[in-house]
Each structure stands twice: as structure tokens, then as C-alpha cells.
Symmetry: C2
Subunit: 209 residues, 2 copies
């Protein structure tokens, strides 16, 4: 049996580090998750870590930015129904995907890398915006809706909703809360026809890598 080529080994080491870090950040927050704790969890030496990440901050930054790297979002349908589906799938996925959960936690942690970096919020806003552009072209949106403004609003509203759900029920009511959020938001953005056609109950099962 041949040994793994060095590059593949490096990729695996990096992934194992990200996962161990995600588990620690998820449990203890940015400040509480020390480098030693992360290394012990990964079963690695400092040398292995510093080959990939110069500091705990760089590691946290990678967890935050790669929170959605393994998500496989469905390709269809595009537009407003897809936007609703993605947010409902995230609510379910958050229960069992530690990288997503840690990334989202770091994004709201005032001690973490998001304190001066909004790139993950912009990334989600851009993803939402793409579906709104499709929705606009398909005539699904009310005339007075600004797509940029709504994608920003949705990221903010989603972020706070998941935070409240985490604090009050450990996220077990997140799907319900996101569904409620959409009930109140949709009349302000969808045409009456689209509003009647949208399905808020179909939470498709998501495949993760």
C-alpha cells in the first residue's frame, strides 16, 4: 500500500485542524478555545498547526469563512422559493454540522475575528442577492423591493433569529423561528401570486460532504 502523497496529507491535516478548531470554538467561544485545547483535540503538534495557520486568529478566520464550504445547496428551483429553502435547510443543517455552527458562532462573537471583518456577512448577502436577481427576472418580486437592501436585511434578521434560538432552546426551534420570520417578511417582497405559490413547509434534506 502506497503512502499518501504529501499534498493530500497536507489537505487532510488542514481539514482535521479546522474540524478540531470548530468543535472547540462551538463549545467554548473564541476566547475560551485555547490553542492547546485545539491541538489536543486534533492530536497534533504546534508545528503541524503553524504550517497551516500562523495563529489562533487565522484558524478562527478560516473556520468563519469556510463555514459553508461543505454545504451542497440544491440547484433548483431558483428564485424566491430557493431563497426560502436555503434558509430553512441552514436551520436544520446547523443542528449537525459543527463547521457551520462554529462559523456562525464566530461571526457573532465580539472577541472573534468578525469584530472588524464583515466578509462572511457579505458572502451570505451575495448568495441571497443572486436568488433575488433571478426572482426579479421571473417577476416574483414586488416593484418597490430593492434586492441589495433585502439581501442585507435578510442576513441580519437571520443572524439574530438563530442567536435567540440558540440562547432560548439550543436551536431546537430554529426552523419554526425562520418560518415565522418568512411569514412576516414575504408580504413585503413577493407579488401576491408568488406569495400564494410559495411553500414554507418543505424543508428538503441536505447532503453534506
Amino acid at each position: 500500500m502506497k503512502s499518501k502523497p504529501p499534498q493530500e496529507r497536507a489537505v487532510r491535516t488542514r481539514r482535521a485542524l479546522l474540524r478540531a478548531a470548530a468543535e472547540c470554538f462551538d463549545e467554548c467561544g473564541y476566547y475560551g478555545a485555547g490553542t492547546n485545547k485545539i491541538l489536543a483535540r486534533a492530536g497534533m503538534t504546534q508545528g503541524a498547526m503553524y504550517f497551516h495557520f500562523k495563529s489562533k486568529e487565522e484558524l478562527a478566520h478560516a473556520v468563519m469563512l469556510e463555514q459553508a464550504a461543505d454545504l451542497e445547496l440544491p440547484a433548483e428551483p431558483r428564485g424566491l422559493q430557493q431563497l426560502v429553502n436555503v434558509t430553512l435547510m441552514l436551520a436544520v443543517e446547523m443542528q449537525n454540522n459543527v463547521l457551520l455552527r462554529a462559523g456562525v458562532r464566530l461571526a457573532v462573537d465580539p472577541a472573534g475575528p468578525a469584530r472588524h471583518d464583515d466578509s462572511i456577512y457579505s458572502w451570505w448577502a451575495a448568495l441571497f442577492h443572486k436568488e433575488l436577481v433571478v426572482a426579479r427576472a421571473a417577476g416574483e418580486l414586488r416593484d418597490d423591493v430593492d434586492e441589495k437592501s433585502f439581501s442585507q436585511t435578510l442576513v441580519g434578521a437571520y443572524t439574530g433569529t438563530q442567536l435567540m434560538s440558540e440562547i432560548t432552546t439550543g436551536r431546537s426551534d430554529l426552523t419554526l423561528r425562520i418560518t415565522n420570520l418568512w411569514r412576516f417578511l414575504l408580504p413585503g417582497i413577493a407579488t401576491p401570486e408568488m406569495l400564494a405559490a410559495l411553500d414554507l413547509n418543505g424543508v428538503p434534506v441536505m447532503e453534506t460532504g
Copy 2:
């Protein structure tokens, strides 16, 4: 000149401690604001602090729960316009009220007292709910709106919106973001007549104690 009676002195000491703690939490987050830093800021001894608060956690808890203690919300108009006004006033007040700012920051800090305590979220939800009950009685709400569910949704959406505004612009665009949030939420809750009558631009000046 008579010296202050002991009880009044104690009240002043407590307020000074809360304010010093709020300044430290606002700047450094829960974990970064050590007890020594807070005492140095307040110019007090450990003994003075332990008379009022057994620990940094208790102090943080008090800041979080008393974040809105000094706010003087306007008495009129009641109902949906009041709900809108209160959220817009909070957006302005957050710029210059350090106790409010620190309380809000602690409420989203995963290292802080809100990790297992949702009482401040419930407090805001109850305050919003009161105006929704008035709005319902005055015929301002759509038939399909559940007041409890919307008050929860609003707290979550507001929380995430202010967090994004803090990260991206240090809260300088918070009023704009809250106004946008309302533009998208109001068609889902207000009757068409009320929707046409609501004023989203009037941010009354708030008097603080």
C-alpha cells in the same frame, strides 16, 4: 454641608460600578474586561465591588438586565407607530448610551451571561408585545398576525441587524438598516390603511436620565 446618607452613597457606588463595567464590556467584550480593569476605571477597591456584586458575572448580568433602565420612552402615540418609534430611537440612543450599548453587546456575547439566560430578550419581547396588543385593539394589525410570534421575530431581527451594523460601520448606518427592516416587515403585519399612515422618518429625540 451634610454628608450623603449611607443608602444614597450605596446607590451612587452601584451606578458608578455599572457605568465603569459597561465602558469596559463595550470596549473589550465580556472575556476581555477583567475585574481589575473595571475597578481601575471606577476608581474603587475590590471590597466596594463585592458589597454590590459577588463576581464579574453578576456585574455583567446587571449591566445586561439594566441596559434600558435609564431610557425614557415616549408615552404617545401607542400601538404600531410607537413600536416603530421605539426601535428607531434605540438605534440613535445606541450611539451615545454606553449602558445600553454594553447591555446589547453582552446579550450577543457567547462568553457572557446571555449564553444561558434569555431574560433580556424576553423583556424586550414583552415591551414590544404590549404595543402590539394596543395595535390589535385599534385595528392596526392584519387578521393573520400573531402578536407573540411577531414580538419574538422583531427582537431577533433587530438584534442581528444591529450586530451587522456594528461590524460593518460601527453602527453609523443603524437607523437606515432598521428603517429598511420595517419597510420589509410592515406589509406583513399592518392593515393597508395603517401602512399608509405610518411614519418611518420621524426619529424623535430621546431624553435620557
